[in-house]
Amino acid sequence: MNSLLSDELYSESITQEPTRKGFGEGLVDAGKKDESIVALSADLVESTQVEPFAKAFPDRFIEMGVAEQNMVTVASGMSAVGKRPFVTSYASFSPGRNWEQIRTTICLNDRPVTIVGCHSGVSVGPDGATHQMLEDIALMRSLPNMIVVAPCDSIEARKATLELAKLAKPSYLRLTREKTAVITHQDTPFSIGKANVLREGSDLTIIACGPLVYEALKAAKYLESKDLKIEVINSHTIKPLDEKTIIKSAKKTKLVFTLEEAQVAGGLGGAITELLSEHLPTQVIRLGIQNRFGQSGTLAQLWAEYDLDAASIVRSINNVLKAK
């Protein structure tokens, strides 16, 4: 079927891996290619999956302790003397706690440092609201010079890590904790700033990022049986947005849904709304976290509670179409 996506796409046996795993593998590969790459961790070596890099390159791994503000500023200093740092922690703490240091010493300073924010979204699960970062896209997207990428699966996370490592720019890589479907394959094209149209349609467009892309695909497949042709776009790069692809799709379908595991205010939904309201005023329905915090639960429970899973997406689409 679709050459961009896994053959197992709608099968029960589709591979499940967390996006952080792809990052961990990608960082080791990037480290082999580029000796200047160093990795920093704030006491979360295993869970951020920086561990394989730390084992492969112990001299290029730095344990920072629980000190996220110091971690990003030390990284800025290391980049000033020719290193290419990846700083790893949970997104709630980095960039949650150290935003000003990222702003001043990395973005205003234009230093090539990649902030890796693990455990984003409500899918973190039982840890609850404090550890479920929902505002990171808004925080990072508003910073000049910053690139923001939220991969849809572990394979894409691996590619994103390798691509970001090649860029001499500040960047933010948004990762997730739980295993989610691996929907792309090794040959699916990936390039920073270029959205992938995963499914073509003419009735409406869903633009998603992160593991929820799969929920969008499942909703689109279901609604196909109801004669709705839905275009699904994976906007893995939230900044810079692939404006051309998004405007082209909105022009065709004239109705856009955005989908993300983050606050819609300032998130992907915010970005798409800003773009279209300026260039092609189009109705945009923003699915995502609606001005709430997370809570403890399983991924399935939480995606249902926050209207993020395929069934919720189908319901939201039906409600909008009914009201038309």
């Binding site: 503000q69 290391m78 000033a80 240091q101 001043t104 010493t105």
Partner: protein, 293 residues
Amino acid sequence: MIHTEQELELIANQIREDIIHMLVEAGSGHTAGPLGMADIFTALYFEVLRHKPQDTNWPERDRLVLSNGHINPVLYATMSKSGYFDHSELKTLRKFGTRLQGHPERLRLPGLETTSGPLGSGISQAAGMAYGLRMDSLKQPRVWCLTSDGEHQEGNTWEAIMFAGKNKLSNLTVVVDRNNIQIDGMTEDVMPLEPFAMKYQAFNWHVIEINGHDFNDIISALNQSKAIFEKPTCIIAHTIPGKGVDYMEFDFRWHGIPPGIKDIYGDPPKEIQAKSALEKLRTINGKIRSEHE
């Protein structure tokens, strides 16, 4: 020493005069801190720092990180005096289009090692540089970080001090401008820092306390720090904020304003604050007749 003590004193005093001229022209900016640090900047740029003002990307240069970016008039005046850019550019401080931004911005002015202003992140960056340089070779450039005492109230500062102590960054020297003032008053009233030296020692640093206006003291401490192994060095420089202008010395009201914008009780009226300050500097507070009028 390359220069005599008298020569260094003269350079420092000329830098202080430049600072007053710059601030008056800008109409805003900090006064007390830059005047207080003029001797230390002079010692660094004219005696100790390995640098090439004409080749700001020289890989072997020492790295100087100014953490408390708000005292940048002294940085700009010293850089200009040591040949980084023309003296006439100093009067553009804080003006639209200037390379001499209100707080230092690396991308605008060659020779700046970083962008700073928000307090408490300089030691981290300097430590990152020291760590990164040490990874590459044994013969390393040295990293000098100039900080204020007030910014030791920032948590980030102590995270950095802990990191540098753990990693024994002996190629890092931090100089603390211990002038005891900050915007809202005396540091010990706002949020006490003492026992300051003991705190650094407890974090496994080598600590030297000096008179920040005595060139022999300053230069010997800076050089001594190069000889310390297995530990980063902190030089606590006791300085007089507003040094050289009698009515500004030790007065926190001069922390964040330039001469000439408002009357301050007990000081010369605003119309003659700058003139009076320059007169004090030219005559070393009336001790000599002007030697470079």
